[in-house]
């Protein structure tokens, strides 16, 4: 038997040859190297920088927790936090049930062309946000926009979507739901297909209605999927940036200035690197806390079959 020529040179390797863990580690090294280099290292230096005053270039000045104290007195930052929470709640309350609704609809056997509709609903997810934003700028245009046209058809007044401080955030939420719901729908679909048919058949024999089947079989057995969707949607929603940057530039009157948008402004336009790092750390802590709370309360409603 001929062996690759390098094995005699590394006798130890030959012993590992049949050990799975060696190959396992070998294959994850590229990913882990990337993860540590581009995620863990910047994260740690970000935390360190949050204790300095630093314009991005040149010497740093140690300021202790001053950046953190400043954050809670900064009305613009607090408004950004409020806006981000508003956006996240909007997506969770409207977007997640909608994704579930579509998933259930597109899981029905009787529906013709299911795969076609699944594709249609998923398409926005793989479209670039910059392109989507430009299209939605037109859709939401007050006088010529399609959204207002449809509102007019059902007799509702025109809304000055992106220019009215009251309506700008709902406009962003509307667009983001259109853009992001397809992704959650696919995850729900996978979850739905994992529920064994036998439960439904048994329930039908016992005379359960469609609502009963949904409430007492689908919802509980889908709960691990729902849990996953809620956590990931919450995390991505908290990091909303592109929509605000392209569509509204944080306006009008800061109505769409989100945390990450404000971090961007501070870091790259106002040269307050340390302060923006402190805000990033705050965002990280909020996300960790929110996720921990979710893990806590999941025991009450998530059922692992």
């Amino acid at each position: 038997m001929t062996r690759p020529f390098f094995f005699p040179m590394f006798a130890r390797l030959r012993r590992y040859k049949y050990q799975q863990w060696f190959w396992g580690y070998l294959f994850v090294i590229p990913v882990m190297a990337g993860f540590f280099l581009f995620m863990v290292y910047p994260m740690i230096s970000g935390i360190a920088l949050s204790f300095y005053q630093w314009p991005g270039i040149g010497p740093k000045e140690w300021v202790g927790v001053a950046n953190y104290l400043k954050m809670f007195r900064d009305v613009h930052f607090l408004r950004a936090v409020g806006n981000t929470v508003y956006y996240t709640l909007g997506i969770l309350v409207l977007g997640v049930p909608l994704a579930l609704f579509w998933a259930i609809l597109l899981n029905q056997k009787f529906l013709k062309g299911r795969n076609f509709f699944r594709l249609i609903y998923f398409l926005p997810t793989v479209t670039m946000m910059a392109a989507v934003s430009m299209v939605w700028k037109w859709l939401l245009s007050p006088n010529y926009g399609l959204v207002n046209y449809f509102l007019g058809l059902v007799g509702l007044p025109k809304v000055n979507w992106l220019l009215d401080p009251k309506w700008a955030m709902p406009g962003l939420i509307l667009m983001s739901i259109w853009k992001g719901t397809g992704f959650n729908m696919v995850i729900f679909l996978a979850g739905l297909q994992g529920i064994p048919k036998t439960y439904y058949e048994a329930a039908e024999i016992d005379g359960a209605t469609a609502w009963h089947k949904f409430r007492y079989i689908t919802l509980p057995l889908l709960s691990p999927t729902t849990f996953f969707v809620i956590i990931t949607t919450m995390i991505t929603s908290f990091q909303i940036f592109q929509q605000a940057y392209i569509l509204t530039e944080g306006g009008p009157r800061e109505a769409t200035t989100t945390i990450v948008f404000y971090i961007y402004k501070n870091a790259f336009e106002w040269f307050k690197m340390g302060y923006s790092c402190a805000q990033s750390v705050f965002l990280l802590l909020v996300l960790i806390l929110a996720t921990l709370i979710q893990w806590r309360i999941q025991r009450r409603w998530v059922h692992y079959a």
């Binding site: 270039i57 006088n143 010529y144």
Partner: protein, 419 residues
Amino acid sequence: MSWWKIALVGLLILLMGWGLLAAQKISLMMWGGAVEEKEVRGYLAAFNEVYPDIQVEIIRPADYWPKLMAMIAAGTPPDVFYMGFPEFVTYHKMGALFDLQSYVEATPDFNTLDFFPGTLDAFRDRETGHLYGVPKDWSTYVVYYNVEMFEEAGLPTPNELFGYGKWSWFDLLEVAKKLTKDIDGDGKIDVYGFAYNFPGRWKLLPPAFGAKWVQAPEKVVVDTPEFAEAIQFLADLALVHKVMPGVTELAEMSAPDWFANQKAAMFICGRWMTMKFKTLPFKWDIAPVPYYRRMYTWVDLVAYCVAKDSKNPDAAWKLVNFLTGPKGQEMVAQAGHAIPIRMSVAHSPAFIEALPELGIHNSVHLIPITTAPITVFDHWGEIWTAINRGLEPVWTGEKKAAEVLPEIQAEIDRILAEG
């Protein structure tokens, strides 16, 4: 592979390496679109006729400022890069820029007196007076007007009005009223007398109304009657007199498009619009910006800076010196979307004949330079954001300028006090 093939490949690699070493390589980072990049490539071709051994690589990122900062922070800055006069203050303070003074003194034909007054000073250290950037071109705001609309209405043109001494902002309002029309009578205005991106460019008015709002780099005063008067006048053009597209109308069509689509008779902008408007199917011209208590126009100024960490400052200086020299500036004049920084070029046929259809009116851009000090203050980006945000309710008519200015002033004072 036989030995002589290996030797040949090795020799080739050596030769290529030698060639690369002999040619000096520097980078130039720019902003703008593909059209501007093509122009810069033209400048570089001319540069290489004089300096064939200096290769210049162009970097044109999508997000200029974050990219520049990241490159400087990483210790691999572009050798030469664009720098706006406001951003200069910040980058100079961070110590990212190369002190060009010794090069200037060692270059006898640089001739600082040939630059438009004040334009070099914007890139000097406030204390030592050393030069840290050389302006590449500049622009003043002017009024673009649709000649055909003025003829049709039988009105004297803005240039004629300027000549009669009747071209204040209030004269512009009167003219605009006569040019604003509801053609089909549906109650909606079809042609406006004037279009202007006022939420972003209100800066043109307060000094003309007599507000000295930038008193020092660390003293910005907006809460004055003159400032309020200027802002309210501008807001009322849309809100009260309805001669200018308001915030909603501007969201649907940008100010230059209102003008280009013949839906606005006048428009105010810098020199850079001329090349875009050159192909418009109607006759247009440029005139000076209106005055009131003072004559004032906004000056935009961009320089070439050399990175402090540049590996090859000698070659970088040669590039900067060439591009801002007479030959380089003639090419700027021909490109047409900015004004040459050298008076010898701006006052020569090279600039005047760049757009022959405008004829002598090209020089309209040159009128106000002696009366327009370049506006710079600290915390530039953050203070502009604060003012623009604070003025939003004025543009929509919810509040009067005089009501919001005290709040804006408090915000400015807070930002400046943070230091």
